[in-house]
Structure formats: structure tokens, C-alpha cells
């Protein structure tokens, strides 16, 4: 069992030590489990809350975009269309919000014991799977109700979900690391969630936006990492025209965000305990 730990002031690494993080697998799972256990503690309707939030959001979005603005969603009923968008968007919003504030919330633990800090924001991706399951269940029920079969490309859907997870973690890890020194970013998180839904094609198709905007504006539109994910996920389930190349702008942004978030986190990791 003997091992040697070296603490050297001069050593500098650019990336987190993933081998070490793997060793803390049990802690990672325990933290995720704890979050889930305490989430609905002392609420009377408990787990029902996990359904109420997406259902109410769906109703409002269907009313506003489907009935009032009369957005054209082609052959897919607007409700199904929006649920599909909500699956990726709510998962993204949950993981980003919770990982973003995770370091500040765990400051007492961070000041008292060592473990790879990255575990804290990463574990939120697991916690969010519960909400993801709920929205996926909603979609399945609606698809049965409307008698819609998934397209043959449906096997790609988990891939798009995975890309969405990486996007959420990329933004979340950036925010969690930035909040250590700049509490300003705490206030940015609800802002991203609120405004993000409008600039992401959750309740309307991106093609509709494309018809009204020149190409250069669409390039900017797809700088939003979730624009590509939401479009791609929906395409994989219901087919239609293959997604346009703008989607790859989103994916490029996601890769850059995720890689830089790991690098920035590593840079500030050693001084977290001095700042929180």
C-alpha cells in the first residue's frame, strides 16, 4: 500500500490528473448520491417536483410558441418538438447551474480535506441524469400518444446528449473556477439559463431563424454551443433535412470551452482553499 506523495511548489501541470480522479471514483459517486438524496428532503411532494418543473415549462412554451406565435414545426406536433428541445436544454441548464456554483457550495469541505477538486463539478453531470430521465420519459409518453416512431438515426441521440453533457460541464467548470475569485459570476448563471432558452432553438426550429437571418448572423447564432446540440438531437430522433454545417460551429465551441475549462480549473485548483 506504500506510496509516495510529492508536493512541490514548482511543479505545474496544464491538465487535471485524470488517473488520480479515477482513484476517487467512490467519492465521486457518493457525492452525486448525496445530492440526489438531499434534493427533495423535507418536501411534501418530494420526487414529484422533478416532473412539475418540466411539465409547466412545456405548457408555457407550447402556449407561447405553439398557440400564440404559431411557430411552424413541420410534421412534428409542437408539443413533441418542444419536449425534444427541453430534454437537452434542461439537462444543460441543470448541470451548468449546479456545477457552476458547486465549488462555492462545498467550500467548507474544500478547506478541510484534500481530494481532486474537479470531482465536485463533474459529479453534477450524474445528478442531472435524474432530470434527464424525467424529460425523456415525457417524450416517450408523448410519442406514443401521437403515434410517432423514432427515425433510423435515433442511435445518434445519445451521442448528442453526450456532447450536451460536455458543453454543460465546459461552461459549468469555467463558472465554478471563476466564481472562486469573482463572485460576480454567480449572478451570471441564472442569466444564462433565462436568456439562453430564447437564443437556443428549444421551442422553434433553427431553420425558421435561418430564413430571416443572413449567413453571418447564423454563424453568430451557432456560437451558442447548445444551438447545435438541440438541433442535432432533434434531427437524430425525427429525421428531416440533415443538419446544416453551422452545427459544427457549436461543436467547435464546445471542444474549446471544455478543454480550456479543464486548463483554467487546474490553474486555480491549488489556491481554491485560500480564496473561498
Amino acid at each position: 500500500m506504500s506510496k509516495t506523495t510529492i508536493i512541490d511548489a514548482k511543479s505545474r501541470q496544464f491538465f487535471p490528473n485524470f488517473k488520480e480522479i479515477r482513484k476517487y471514483k467512490d467519492l465521486f459517486l457518493t457525492l452525486a448520491w448525496r445530492d440526489f438524496r438531499v434534493r427533495y428532503a423535507q418536501t411534501t411532494i418530494g420526487f414529484l417536483w422533478a416532473f412539475i418543473q418540466p411539465v409547466v415549462t412545456l405548457i408555457i412554451l407550447t402556449l407561447v410558441f405553439g398557440k400564440i406565435a404559431k411557430v411552424d414545426t413541420g410534421p412534428i406536433p409542437h408539443t413533441v418538438f418542444t419536449t425534444c428541445g427541453l430534454i437537452t436544454w434542461t439537462y444543460f441548464a441543470f448541470v451548468m447551474t449546479n456545477s457552476g456554483k458547486s465549488i462555492i457550495e462545498s467550500q467548507n469541505m474544500i478547506k478541510k480535506i484534500y481530494f481532486p477538486r474537479l470531482i465536485i463539478p463533474l459529479s453534477k453531470a450524474v445528478v442531472g441524469l435524474i432530470d434527464l430521465g424525467v424529460t425523456v420519459l415525457m417524450l416517450i409518453i408523448l410519442m406514443i400518444w401521437y403515434g410517432l416512431a423514432p427515425a433510423p438515426t435515433a442511435w445518434l441521440a445519445p451521442v448528442f446528449l453526450l456532447i450536451g453533457m460536455i458543453a454543460a460541464l465546459g461552461v459549468g467548470i469555467w463558472l465554478s473556477a471563476l466564481t472562486i475569485r469573482f463572485r460576480d459570476f454567480q449572478h451570471i448563471i441564472p442569466f444564462i439559463v433565462q436568456l439562453g432558452m430564447f437564443i437556443t432553438p428549444v421551442a422553434y426550429p433553427a431553420e425558421q431563424a435561418a430564413r430571416q437571418m443572413p449567413d453571418w448572423m447564423m454563424s453568430i447564432y451557432y456560437l451558442n454551443p447548445m444551438a447545435g446540440v438541440v438541433q442535432g438531437f432533434r434531427w437524430s430522433l425525427f429525421g428531416g433535412d440533415a443538419p446544416d454545417n453551422f452545427m459544427f460551429i457549436s461543436f467547435g465551441v464546445i471542444v474549446i470551452l471544455f478543454v480550456t475549462s479543464l486548463m483554467y480549473f487546474k490553474r486555480v485548483e491549488d489556491e481554491i482553499a485560500d480564496f473561498v
Binding site: S2, K3, T4, I6, A9, D26, L27, M109, I110, D274
Partner: protein, 398 residues
């Protein structure tokens, strides 16, 4: 001397920048990017060029006053914060306990918290499972193991938390004053557990204010003072060195105004080498009195760490008629068995009357009253005072 080395610390320093925390806002960082580095906050070296080696199997006490750098050293050794310079080599599986019950969640049950806390302390879920029954038995809270810990009394909470920690099996254990919790009986149990750990040949690093506990547990001692190692060697020499440093706590800044100038202030044990519960202590002060008329009264206050004024006591030096300008010296003796063990500080008030204060010097000197072992018990008893009370008792009837 050919024991393997467990911990080797070389040229270790840790710098904090004072004030950085406060103005670490986005705006100040943006603006300071355009300013020179010289305008930034002052540096404070919590640890300065620390070097020491700990052999495997040693039980080392780290001694020092508040602010000596003990906690910073522990944080650096436990990898909670990174050193500014230097290098540490640790051979073996380390567990550090800077508090008991890290990560405990009030909404979770005792059982769930054992798993949570255990994995946070570095055990795998499998290891926790294996030791689960022992942990519960040691804590003595079997009946409430499936109750959320928010309903626990603070004693139960601490006992459960310590039990998890006590069942860690590291090769090197780093502990910070966790013994200062729980009731006397439980503390005894904890000290017993720590002695067991030590007897198994593991290395223990123990930081405490409680010299009595260090005396009983440790074989080696490291004395820290203002972030530097003052002494490193065997336990008795380390404790002697610590006492020697604390004797005669001289005022660091001279206090003066137009009326009075306090020239010096000293505290010394009335008997023996250091201030303990039974030694009593003598405090003395020299001061310069400027007004040539008016009454002169000096009052001393001793305040404990909870800001409770333990006593407020003074003396009339002279009345208006025979008042003299010049230097005065005053000395007071507090008999042994007055104060309980702990840290105290002195306030001095020099006045002409209740309503006319000439100078009020707060926190003019600090001192520590050391605990004494009572019937084999090392822990500090509750209470502000430790009077030597004589009892008379007799058996009345059956």
C-alpha cells in the same frame, strides 16, 4: 537513526497576500492589470523556510501559539493549499483530519453520513462497509443510526464523526486538535485510540494547544514561532523550548498619549518555569505619568478567549493632593488555582476617576495558563475558574 523517513519537508514557505481576498473582484483585477505589481497588497509569510524530517513511527507534536503557522503547515501537508516555495515528500498513505465530520449532511441519517464521511476521508465504499459495525459500536449511537443527524445532540454528532475518523487505517495520520471535542470520557477513548494507532508503528502528526495531551502522546516535538521552526527534537525539549519562548511576554508596541506612557508590561509565573493552573502568576507594569495633579488609579482586566472579563481589579496609586509626575511601577500577584487553563489577555485602564480615563490599553499582553493532569485526565475542564476547593464530607446513614 536508520528508520525510514515518513515526511521530509525542505525549504517550505507559504505566502498570503493581505487584503487580496477583499478586493479580488473582477473590477480590481481588471484595473490592476494596468498597474504595476507594487501597488498590490502586502505579503504575509505564514511559513518561512521550514525544514524538518519525520521518521516513520514517530509521534510528533506541533506546538506554537495562535498565528504561529501551525494550521497553515497542516493545510500544506494535507495538500489543501499549495506551498509558495519548497518541497514535501510523504512516504505512505496519508489521512488528514482537520476537523471531525467533514462533509456531514444534516438531512442524511447516521448510516448515510458514515458512508459519505468515510469516502471523503479517503476510504472506498467497500472499506466503509467492512468497518461499519465497528464504527457504529465505537460511537455508541446504534439506536439513532437511521435518524437524520440534524436530530442528534452535538455530543452524539461529534462521537459519530470521530468514530469514522478513528477507523481510518493510514500509514501517516495528520490531526488538528480534534481531541478538543466531546465530553471527557469520550476524549479519553479518543486518546486511547490514538495511542493504539501509534503503537502499531504508524506515524502521527498532532497539532494542539493542549500541552498536557502532547506530553502524554508524543515522542517528538516541533516548535513553530512566527512561521519558523524554532526547535525540532524530542518532546520534552520541545515543550521546554515552548515555555522558554512564552515566558515574559513583553509588550510589542509602546502605548502612549499626552497623559500616560506605558513603558513595559510583564507576566511571569509566581512559581515554577511556566504559568500553569497551580503556579499563579505575577504581572508588572512600568509607566510614565505626565499630569502633576489629579488622582491616579490603575485597573487591570483579564479577559478569556470568549471575551468574558474574568476579573476587573485595580488600585488607587495616589490622590489629587500627593500626585507626582514621573515613572511608576506596579506589580500584582494572582495566586495559583484561580484561572482555568486557556489563553487570556490583559487590558489596562489608567484613570483619574470613573469618568475620566487617561489611557485604555486593550489586549496589552497575552498569556497561556497551562492545563494540569487531574486524576489521569488530560482534558481541559469546563469553566472559567479552577479554584482549589476543600471538601468536608461524611457518611450520614444508610
Amino acid at each position: 537513526m536508520n528508520e525510514p523517513i515518513a515526511i521530509k519537508v525542505s525549504n517550505l514557505s507559504k505566502r498570503y497576500t493581505i487584503g487580496k481576498q477583499k478586493d479580488a473582484s473582477l473590477r480590481s483585477t481588471l484595473t490592476s492589470a494596468f498597474k504595476s505589481a507594487a501597488t498590490k497588497g502586502d505579503d504575509f509569510w505564514a511559513l518561512k523556510n521550514i525544514n524538518f524530517e519525520i521518521n516513520s513511527g514517530d509521534i510528533v507534536g506541533i506546538i506554537g501559539k495562535n498565528g504561529a503557522g501551525k494550521s497553515t503547515l497542516l493545510k500544506v501537508l494535507s495538500q489543501i493549499t499549495k506551498p509558495t516555495t519548497g518541497r514535501i515528500e510523504i512516504n505512505g498513505r496519508v489521512a488528514s483530519l482537520l476537523e471531525v465530520g467533514t462533509g456531514f449532511h444534516p438531512e442524511l441519517t447516521g448510516r448515510e453520513n458514515i458512508y459519505l464521511n468515510g469516502t471523503i476521508l479517503g476510504m472506498t465504499r467497500k472499506e466503509v462497509k467492512e468497518k461499519f459495525d465497528d464504527i457504529v459500536a465505537f460511537s455508541g449511537v446504534e439506536k439513532f443510526i437511521d435518524t437524520p443527524v440534524k436530530h442528534y445532540s452535538s455530543g452524539m454528532y461529534v462521537r459519530l464523526a470521530f468514530s469514522v475518523a478513528a477507523h481510518l487505517e493510514p500509514e501517516i495520520l495528520i490531526i488538528d486538535e480534534v481531541l478538543a471535542v466531546g465530553d471527557a470520557e469520550f476524549q479519553k477513548k479518543c486518546i486511547g485510540k490514538m495511542s493504539d494507532v501509534a503503537a502499531q508503528g504508524r506515524t502521527v502528526l498532532f497539532v494542539s494547544h493542549n500541552i498536557a495531551a502532547i506530553k502524554e502522546l508524543c515522542t517528538k516535538g516541533i516548535v513553530l514561532h512566527h512561521g519558523e521552526v524554532q526547535f525540532s527534537g524530542n518532546q520534552t525539549d520541545a515543550i521546554d523550548k515552548y515555555h522558554e519562548m512564552n515566558r515574559g511576554n513583553v509588550l510589542s508596541t509602546q502605548l502612549k498619549n499626552e497623559h500616560v506612557e506605558i513603558l513595559n508590561f510583564n507576566i511571569a509565573p509566581a512559581s515554577g518555569q511556566f504559568i500553569s493552573i497551580s503556579s499563579g502568576f505575577i504581572f508588572s507594569m512600568d509607566f510614565m505619568h505626565q499630569p502633576s495633579n489629579g488622582n491616579l488609579a490603575v485597573t487591570f482586566e483579564v479577559v478569556n478567549k470568549d471575551e468574558i472579563v474574568v476579573f476587573h481589579h485595580g488600585e488607587w496609586i495616589c490622590s489629587e493632593k500627593n500626585s507626582k509626575q514621573g515613572r511608576y511601577s506596579i506589580q500584582g500577584t494572582v495566586p495559583g488555582n484561580t484561572l482555568n487553563a486557556g489563553n487570556y489577555f490583559f487590558n489596562v485602564i489608567i484613570a483619574t476617576s470613573l469618568h475620566h480615563v487617561l489611557i485604555q490599553a486593550e489586549n496589552i499582553a497575552q498569556f497561556e495558563v497551562e492545563n494540569e493532569t487531574l486524576a489521569g485526565n488530560n482534558s481541559v475542564l469546563p469553566g472559567v475558574l479552577r479554584p482549589d476547593i476543600r471538601y468536608d464530607f461524611k457518611f450520614l446513614d444508610a
